[in-house]
Symmetry: C2
């Protein structure tokens, strides 16, 4: 069902970043569901987490451990360890401790991540039993396996790789992500792990990740639900021969632009694989009085079930888009100034359907798998983009039958 799925890219190893995966039997199906990242003492690590008030236990623990110079990420799919009360925290700590003991580290240096069904206790024994295999497996070169190990309802593994050159030396950036439902602005059931061999301080890495997240993972939505578990991690091993990246430097600009690019591509892959998605919709709101306002209008359109079902039907029902703009809560918006486009076809102008618009022209655009909704508000100079997908029978099917 994914929109424009591409093959998993060739992802070179990241010096110093080791990966191990295995099937711990957490999921019912036969697929890897346990993943460990290991990075050297020289590494720095940044992370952002879900804004859901009821974070899952692993999120609480990962947030706390981020301050202890982490060296391992312990990730499982198939069980979110969310809504599991005090036992959830005990279990999350237990798995971190199990890994630390096995590998000779401190449990505070392990960041745990879980994704999957909410409300079932974590099968800690299964994880403990599987960890020796993961640890004995650690190598720098199995990014596709890592991408597969974090999948839940995803239909394909998601990876992006990019190389930049700083002072004549290569710096490599690899990222993987998983969706696929509950994807929402402000972090949703998504996990994303990005690694680089760059040398950069933790504070600058965190700043870089925050900026990239705001314009990538926080600009996508599948169904408006925010998960209890989402996180995005950026690890920098420091093993590249390039010099340390410092703030206010040309190198930082190059590096942060590359991180943003990788993040945007990973975010887009999540939407392409949105549950039941048949269309990728880019909502570009321009001429807004502020970025906030532009995002507000774009997300109101993106969350409208009526807009999303119309796109599923390839129906150029511009009235629903206009109605969504109208209820976005922007004060003193003037209908007469609004113009709405499907790709380059103007569908709304002068307060109603554009005079030169034809259903045929709209239909041609709607039949595409990827569509841009352009909304010009006529209020200012700010532009923001939000990505979403359509709402299909399969979305209902996938979410109605998730636990059966």
């Amino acid at each position: 069902m994914a929109v424009g799925q591409t093959d998993f890219p060739i992802m070179p190893p990241i010096l110093g970043i080791q990966i191990g995966t295995t099937n711990a039997g957490i999921k019912q199906i036969e697929r890897d569901d346990l993943l460990v990242f290991q990075f050297p003492e020289t590494a720095t690590c940044a992370a952002v987490f879900t804004q859901n008030a009821f974070c899952a236990a692993p999120v609480h623990l990962a947030k706390a451990n981020l301050a202890h110079s982490p060296r391992w990420l312990l990730i499982n799919s198939g069980n979110a360890n969310a809504g599991t009360g005090k036992q959830g925290m005990i279990d999350a700590q237990q798995t971190c401790d199990d890994l630390a003991q096995l590998i000779g580290g401190k449990m505070q240096q392990v960041l745990p991540f879980s994704t999957g069904v909410i409300g079932q206790t974590l099968p800690v024994e299964k994880i403990k039993n599987a960890l020796p295999k993961v640890v004995s497996n650690l190598v720098e070169n199995q990014w596709e396996q890592a991408a597969r190990a974090i999948m839940t309802t995803d239909t394909f593994p998601k990876g992006v790789s990019k190389v930049i050159v700083l002072n004549g030396e290569n710096v490599t950036i690899n990222g993987i992500s998983k969706g696929a439902g509950m994807i929402q602005p402000n972090m949703a059931t998504m996990l994303s792990f990005i690694a680089t061999d760059a040398k950069i301080s933790q504070s600058l890495l965190q700043q870089c990740l925050l900026a990239a997240t705001e314009l990538s993972f926080n600009r996508i939505t599948v169904d408006g639900d925010t998960s209890t578990n989402d996180a995005c991690v950026l690890m920098a091993s420091g093993c590249s021969a390039a010099p340390e990246i410092l703030i206010d430097s040309g190198n930082y600009n190059i590096f942060s632009a590359a991180i943003l690019e990788v993040s945007k591509k990973l975010a887009e892959l999540i939407v392409r694989d949105g549950e039941g998605a048949t269309k990728l919709i880019r909502i570009v709101v321009s001429e807004a009085a502020s970025d906030t306002e532009a995002v507000q209008v774009a997300k109101t359109i993106a969350h409208s079930p009526l807009v999303k079902t119309a796109f599923f039907a390839s129906d150029p029902n511009w009235g629903r888009i206009l109605a969504a703009v109208g209820r976005a809560g922007v004060i003193e918006m003037e209908l007469e100034k609004i113009r709405i486009y499907l790709d380059n076809v103007c569908i709304v102008r002068d307060g109603g359907r554009a005079i030169d618009y034809t259903e045929e022209a709209g239909q041609i655009v709607m039949n595409q798998a990827e569509i841009i909704i352009g909304v010009k508000l006529g209020r200012g100079e700010f532009t923001q983009t939000v990505l979403t997908c359509d709402f299909s029978y399969d979305y209902v099917k996938i979410n109605a039958e998730y636990r059966t």
Copy 2:
């Protein structure tokens, strides 16, 4: 697909309120799509309208005409006259003028209402040609025909009737409403017309309607979309033998309670007939720190596609409810204090699944057609209720194929 549909009730005539309907050919199907209410000079009329910034032309006109002691409501289904630019206003005025000329009134005394497809110009000639038949038809006793004439995707006509006694004299209240999709807090694609023979000033009638709407039509949601056209009208003919209803009187308390009761029942009928609905869900949020907070939490649950698809599947997926509460935007909410119930079955307590909860007990509740989600926040003493329905294959089907 409606949940617990009941037969249309016996609705007695309202003295002084006359009704005429006909098939003007606005819809493709053979069904009445034009409705006129006529009330005497002694009558008062109150109304509330959609909060969508892009109101349809008839809404703008009805708002303006409300100040001119209206005597007629002119309602069509099948075409919303929304997103129709300047032509939309010209057309709405034309139909009001046509009716006024025919009936010997002023066009400012006509309130127009339209519901149906957005963005197509109103077929004013068809309406003009049909009006003589409607006017020659005006009688006090065809409420079911009126309820049928305003239907769009509704599967059954919706009516509620109630008689109260004031100073020994009967006062009758009749109401009709239509949904069925795009139903949202703060007025959605719903129209509701309530009539009574009570004698009451316009200002007090408006106050009464506002209070009733807030706790009825503004407490329901099907899909979170707000229409450009919705309205609720309350007409009082003044023909009852009961004395005029005055503010701060026992009679006002009785009357306003009855209007609220009728409004709540009409609102509930809209949700029961929500597009594709198979379940009626009452979300009762209690122990909130304010009414606003209670509504905020309830609506976040009500709008969650993940919660709604789980209910469609009769899946007691309490994790999704908990996740929705967590993203409702209430600050300093404590997970440990939250308790969540499906009817009387406690599913969440002490930060996770209630220890005594069993899937069997949850499943029994979920198999019902009507379910109460109770959320106790442990923060205060305020309680609010929001009604919604589940999200089914048929919701997608109805909205994907609406124009085909």
